[in-house]
């Protein structure tokens, strides 16, 4: 097995003491931000990007840290979901149904334990998938030309738009806004300034860290200010966080099914953890038939979605790393980080940067092991963090965001820009415009434009080249199909008890 020997050498990278430390730190931060309201993985990653750049750590170490936050947040998410019925992101909404029902029955500890183990199963199985499928996809994608890449990016946009929950027109407007932001600054080919409004600061373009922190973090601050309740209910821990092996074994197949569903859904752009957890939940309901107590505290209602959304998070790394095309807001930010670190994800990544890819894959095993450790015996520590009052937490996070934004270009102008994006983000939330497509558009915009121009230039100005190859046509077809998919999906999942269609493409 070729992949296996690569993976073993990857452990050589992942088990360096510094990288072990980063993996542990990353998943710790991830658990934290996944659990607490108002931060979220996308902000945490955006805030830490300038820090990793400044510290001068090697690319694989930076990635181990950032990706650790990414999958770690999927664990932390379930803590506040189960105990407080406050899902941090959309992908944990389904877990709330049975997870919180178990807490009310006094079985909260058991629910947390199941969720931790399910997350671990989903996480580790999907890394196996990552290791096996990424090389396959890469060897296939090596034939992609600029026209195919352009079509692929259109597919990513349409998939994210259609699953973002809001109306397609709104998602389209958000995408267009993001792409427009990407064109701000000097045009890379002709060096003509575009949309700079005479501002020297804008000639370099918008930095995605500034935009992301503004859109997500600052607008979140405004939104939290709007909510009148200043504090939050203290979490009451009920029962030991433990589960008997027999109960665990009873959920074994559920976790495996959830992992497979989650992984497959995760690989598709746009869908991500939200759809995965919904599908896993309804699949479990179907399998259990009349024996289930779904909606009233069935452990399988926790195990299925939790394994699924962790598997989906890891599956989503495949298109990011092997195609260079992310499918969600958070993975778009990760792409921005990679580009900033001087790594170009794509089919050649596995050959050119084997240490990076295999080191990352191996570190994810390390990180998941840490997560299991943190979430079983140490969950009490995290639960206590839920009682940090908001007046301390939110200003603290804001200050971190300031430093991060300032550090990008050591420019105070960016702080003003960030605030403006905060206001824009707040208004967009108010008017139901999804935010994730903006970030995706901003990060993918330059790549999209480059590939479009290259494709047209190669064909001598003939636009039909975009629809010329079978791969491109298939991708355009997929893009169209993804726009239809939510309708079908809603029909399939609308028998879930008391759940609305998933919203927010933020997972």
């Amino acid at each position: 097995m070729d992949s296996l020997s690569h993976l073993i050498s990857g452990f050589g990278v992942a088990l360096q003491p510094f990288n072990i430390l980063l993996a542990a730190g990353g998943v710790g931060v991830g658990t934290f931000v996944g659990m607490l309201p108002g931060i979220g993985p996308i902000n945490a990653i955006a805030i830490l990007i300038p820090v990793t750049f400044a510290s001068g750590m090697p690319a694989e170490s930076a990635l181990i840290l950032l990706v650790g936050i990414y999958y770690g947040s999927q664990y932390g998410n379930s803590i506040s979901t189960i105990l407080l019925n406050v899902p941090g992101t959309a992908s944990a909404v389904v877990t709330a149904i049975d997870g919180h029902a178990m807490t009310r029955e006094g079985r909260g500890g058991e629910a947390l334990a199941i969720s931790a183990v399910a997350s671990f199963v989903g996480g580790t199985l999907s890394i196996l998938g990552l290791v096996l499928f990424a090389p396959l996809l890469a060897s296939w994608a090596i034939r992609f030309g600029p026209a195919e890449y352009f079509a692929l990016m259109v597919f990513a946009f349409s998939a994210l738009s259609s699953f973002a929950g809001a109306s397609i027109s709104r998602a389209l407007a958000s995408t267009a806004f993001g792409l427009w932001l990407a064109t701000v600054g000097l045009d890379p080919n002709s060096a003509i300034p575009r949309y700079t409004f005479g501002q020297i600061h804008l000639l370099d373009g918008m930095d995605f860290v500034v935009v992301t922190i503004g859109l997500f973090a600052v607008s979140e601050v405004f939104q939290l200010l709007e909510e009148s309740d200043a504090g939050q209910a203290a979490a009451s821990m009920t029962g030991r966080v433990a589960i008997s092996l027999r109960d665990l074994a009873a959920n074994g197949w559920t976790m495996i099914r959830g992992s497979v569903i989650g992984f497959l859904v995760g690989v598709l752009p746009g869908a991500g953890g939200t759809i995965a957890s919904f599908l896993a939940y309804s699949a479990e309901e179907r399998v259990a038939g009349s024996t289930g107590r779904f909606g009233r505290g069935d452990p399988r209602g926790v195990a299925g979605p939790e394994s699924a959304n962790n598997a989906a998070a890891n599956g989503a790394l495949i298109p990011l790393l092997t195609l260079g095309v992310p499918g969600s807001g958070t993975t778009a930010v990760l792409l921005g980080a990679l580009l900033g670190l001087g790594v170009t994800p794509g089919p050649l990544l596995l050959e050119q940067e084997p240490d990076l890819f295999w080191g990352l894959a191996a570190s994810m095993y390390v990180g998941n092991a840490f997560l299991l450790l943190m979430n079983l015996p140490l969950v009490g520590v995290f639960v206590r963090a839920l009682t940090i009052p908001r007046w301390l937490l939110i200003p603290g996070v804001s200050a971190l965001a300031f430093v991060a934004v300032y550090a990008v270009n050591t420019s105070a102008f960016d702080l003003v820009l960030m605030t403006l994006f905060g206001v824009v983000g707040y208004l967009m939330r108010k008017f139901d415009f999804p935010l994730a497509p903006v970030v995706l558009g901003l990060v993918l915009g330059p790549l999209m434009e480059k590939n479009l121009r290259r494709a047209i230039a190669l064909s001598g100005g003939d636009w039909s080249v975009l629809f010329d190859s079978p791969i491109a046509i298939t991708l355009w077809g997929l893009a169209l199909a993804s726009l239809m998919a939510p309708v079908l999906l809603r029909r399939w999942t609308n028998d879930l008890p008391g759940v609305d269609a998933p919203d927010l493409g933020e997972s």
Binding site: P50, V51, A54, S55, S167, S169, R170, L172, A173, T175, A176, F177, L179, W180, T183, D187, N189, S190, I192, R194, Y195, V221, F222, L224, L225, E226, E227, S228, A230, G231, P389, R390, W391, L392, I394, P395, G396, S398, A399, L400, F402, V403, Y406, A407, A412, D414, L415, V416, M418, T419, G422, V423, Y426, K430, F431, D432, G445, M448, E449, R453
Partner: protein, 136 residues
């Protein structure tokens, strides 16, 4: 409510008007596609206006304005007052806005500024502004 949707679409109309005024052939392609997408999205939203948007009450709205003002002035003031003082003030103000005690918020602001300064300047050697006011 119609007016509000109108405002949103008008904002968009403004954006795509700008987009049409773009440069020569090469750099124009993507902005034009984007403008097209905005026109389609705007028209579709215009055709099917969505119902009410809940505006915040005056109390929260005032707090939000104050927070926005604090953010903006932080960016403006940072080069002069320096990192430590600016951050202390803005964290303190935000703390109070979130209903924290005044003294506690101020202490938290100062403490946090100090910790961040140590972390970023000492450990990561990221330059944070000392403040032009103190150097002269």
């Amino acid at each position: 409510m119609l007016v509000l949707t109108g405002v949103a679409t008008a904002l968009e109309a403004w954006t795509f008007n700008v987009a049409f005024m773009t440069d020569p052939v090469g750099p124009k392609a993507l902005p034009l596609l984007v403008a097209g997408a905005l026109v389609v999205a705007g028209a579709r939203l215009m055709a099917r206006p969505r119902s009410t948007v809940q505006l915040p009450d005056t109390g929260p709205a005032r707090r939000m304005m104050l927070a926005a003002a604090a953010f903006i002035s932080y960016g403006l003031v940072l080069p002069w007052l320096g990192f430590f003082l600016s951050t202390t003030i803005v964290v303190g103000v935000l703390g109070v806005l979130f209903g924290g005690p005044r003294v506690g918020s101020a202490v938290a602001g100062a403490g946090l500024s100090a910790v961040l300064w140590l972390l970023f300047v000492m450990v990561l050697s990221l330059p944070l502004p000392i403040g032009a006011l103190w150097i002269r």
